[in-house]
């Protein structure tokens, strides 16, 4: 299983010299499985770069297919949708899976972004590729080729966000962005979803100090991410969804502090890294 980061930023893209190393694009992660299946998790502005890379292969000839998992519909997780090149090549096939109550609701949400006053394509149906919308089924399990995907609703302020556990090729990837736990951290059923992940991509928008000032936003701090990884005995933790104002230096600091926090609680065996645009991890 090959995991690539295309956008690692939260809230809004933050271009500029201060974010060149980790990247300023909003959330997008791609997963390539041994059987060739391709999964895109979230569709922030990072999706544009992922799309460009796919067009060099089968997707450029209208012979590609992929699954798109959407954790939720906040702008920073869908704003790359209109700019994902493979959607414009007839013949390509996509299944978009989101946490809406029905496929119709998911479609309505994504169509609002495409409406004529906001974007000149007016509807995703005008993009060219075949795009099918699917709600997450009641048992919260989705199969993509040999992969078993389990969705799990996490709290995100007053609303919900889906975490995804992807098991394939004997490895496990967990994506848990935009989560703001109740005090006490992730409950047991959430830890069960994270447990033993070879890679846990976890929201760590803030330093603990900044998080304290912004409790209402439903996002995690570095220590929430560390706590979740240690308790779930994840093998590797990737910090993700950095605040738009954090510079590369600030993110370096997050990683160093995260290492210290893990060591201090006896979780030396958990690896930690800062997700960065262009980074590929092979599990």
């Amino acid at each position: 299983m090959e995991v690539t980061f295309w956008g690692v930023r939260g809230s809004i893209p933050s271009p500029g010299p201060a974010t060149v190393r980790y990247g300023g694009n909003t959330s997008c992660v791609s997963v390539r499985l041994a059987d060739g299946e391709i999964i895109m998790i979230d569709c922030g502005t990072g999706a544009r770069g992922f799309g460009i890379s796919l067009l060099a292969g089968a997707f450029g000839k209208g012979k590609g297919s992929a699954t798109v998992l959407l954790s939720h519909a906040h702008w920073d997780h869908i704003q790359g949708f209109p700019f994902f090149g493979p959607f414009y090549v007839p013949g390509n096939r996509f299944t978009v899976v989101g946490g809406s109550q029905s496929a119709e609701l998911l479609e309505r949400v994504l169509e609002r972004q495409m409406a004529a006053q906001f974007f000149p394509v007016q509807s995703y149906r005008n993009m060219g590729a075949h795009i099918e919308m699917r709600a997450i089924p009641e048992d919260r399990e989705v199969r993509v080729g040999a992969a078993k995907i389990t969705a799990h609703p996490n709290p995100h302020g007053p609303t919900q966000v889906m975490a995804f556990r992807i098991e394939a090729d004997g490895k496990t990837l967990v994506y848990a962005s935009d989560v703001g736990y109740e005090s006490g951290g992730p409950p047991e059923d959430t830890l069960a979803i994270y447990r033993g992940a070879d890679l846990l991509i976890h929201d760590s928008t803030f330093t603990p100090e900044d998080r304290a000032e912004r409790m209402s936003r439903g996002l995690s701090s570095l220590d929430d991410a560390v706590d979740a990884a240690a308790r779930a005995q994840a093998k590797r933790l990737a910090l993700f969804h950095y605040d738009q104002d954090y510079s590369d230096h600030d993110v370096d600091e997050l990683v160093v502090r995260g290492r210290r926090l893990l060591d201090a609680r006896g979780a030396e065996e958990v690896e930690i890294l800062g997700a960065a645009e262009g980074l590929t991890l092979t599990l």
């Binding site: 809004i12 893209p13 694009n25 702008w75 869908i78 906001f118």
Partner: protein, 310 residues
């Protein structure tokens, strides 16, 4: 008058090393008069950092006032507004101007951007006083000591050009627009290249001619014209229906209107810093080499231009 660029990119923000010099934020330009009247043109992602800057002065204490002119509501011209900090401080007074629509109230267009499930802070929770002013085509009005004129552009749906005069100087903002050779305005969606000029009806030709002359009139004698030059000639041939111009289109308008300086603007997301440099060189050569009367610059984030009395 001071003109400062906060976002110069078209379509979507493009962070990264390739765009470090010109900047990756979407459209936002600040125009302030010597007396301190503040106009902001467009609310792309560049407006976020402008908001942070404003919060270092009177906007922090709720005593700020600014006028936001919106060219049109495509995402790259409004997506920064929910992140504009002065909205969230009580006492600040903000005025948003955009062309009226027949089918939807202006406020609701902007408010829908901050609705669930897209954004966690509803527009009703902005603390500042926000007034919406709907403009008709060709509207002229005053904002304190600044005179504003408008005219419609050739872009799908609706787009408005603005000119602002103050302190004995004038700046015009022409984005987004295609050249005036085919009909894009008023169209909801064009799946491919539209009818070319030779195939148009006489009425349509007349409309386009009137639109082109109105744009030249708006730019007449301007010190600075900021123009949508998203495309190279090749790209325009591929995408004439997306509603953007080439540097050559901007140069034609500026030369007809006797403009002093042209700022290339709304750079394509794919355009690297080196490619913008090359586009600028090409435009300067085309405008008459060293003997040209028209100065040309390529807009970059942080560029400050002082016009007239400052």
């Amino acid at each position: 008058m001071r003109v400062r660029f906060w976002g110069v990119r078209g379509s979507l923000p493009v962070p990264g090393a390739r765009t470090e010099r010109y900047g990756g934020n979407t459209s936002c330009v600040e125009v302030t008069s010597a007396s301190g009247t503040r106009i902001i043109i467009d609310g792309g992602t560049g407006i976020r950092r402008l908001g942070k800057e404003l919060m270092r002065a009177e906007f922090e204490s709720g005593k700020g006032q600014a006028h936001i002119l919106i060219s049109h509501t495509h995402w790259d011209h409004i997506q920064g507004l929910p992140f504009f900090s002065p909205f969230y401080r009580g006492g600040n007074r903000l005025f948003v101007y955009a062309r009226q629509r027949d089918d939807q109230n202006l406020r609701s267009v902007f408010a829908s951007q901050a609705d669930a499930p897209f954004f966690p802070v509803s527009f009703d929770r902005t603390r500042a006083s926000v007034a919406f002013r709907e403009l008709h085509d060709g509207a002229k009005f005053e904002i304190e000591d600044m005179q504003v004129s408008t005219t419609r552009l050739n872009h799908p749906h609706v787009a408005t050009a603005y000119s602002i005069a103050a302190d004995g100087a004038r700046v015009a903002y022409i984005a987004d627009t295609a050249p005036f050779t085919d009909i894009l305005f008023g169209q909801e969606f064009l799946s491919g290249p539209p009818l070319q000029h030779t195939q148009l009806s006489r009425t349509d030709k007349t409309k386009l001619k009137a639109m082109a002359s109105a744009v030249v009139r708006l730019c007449e004698g301007a010190d600075l014209v900021i123009y949508d030059t998203m495309y190279t000639a090749d790209e325009y041939r591929q995408y004439p229906h997306f509603g953007h111009s080439r540097p050559s289109d901007a140069i034609t308008v500026c030369q007809q209107a006797g403009v002093k300086t042209l700022a290339l603007f709304h750079h394509a997301p794919d355009r690297s810093d080196a490619e913008v440099d090359a586009m600028l060189d090409g435009a300067r050569a085309q405008a008459g080499g060293k003997n040209r009367k028209l100065e040309i610059v390529a807009a970059f984030e942080g560029l400050d231009l002082l016009l007239g009395k400052v």
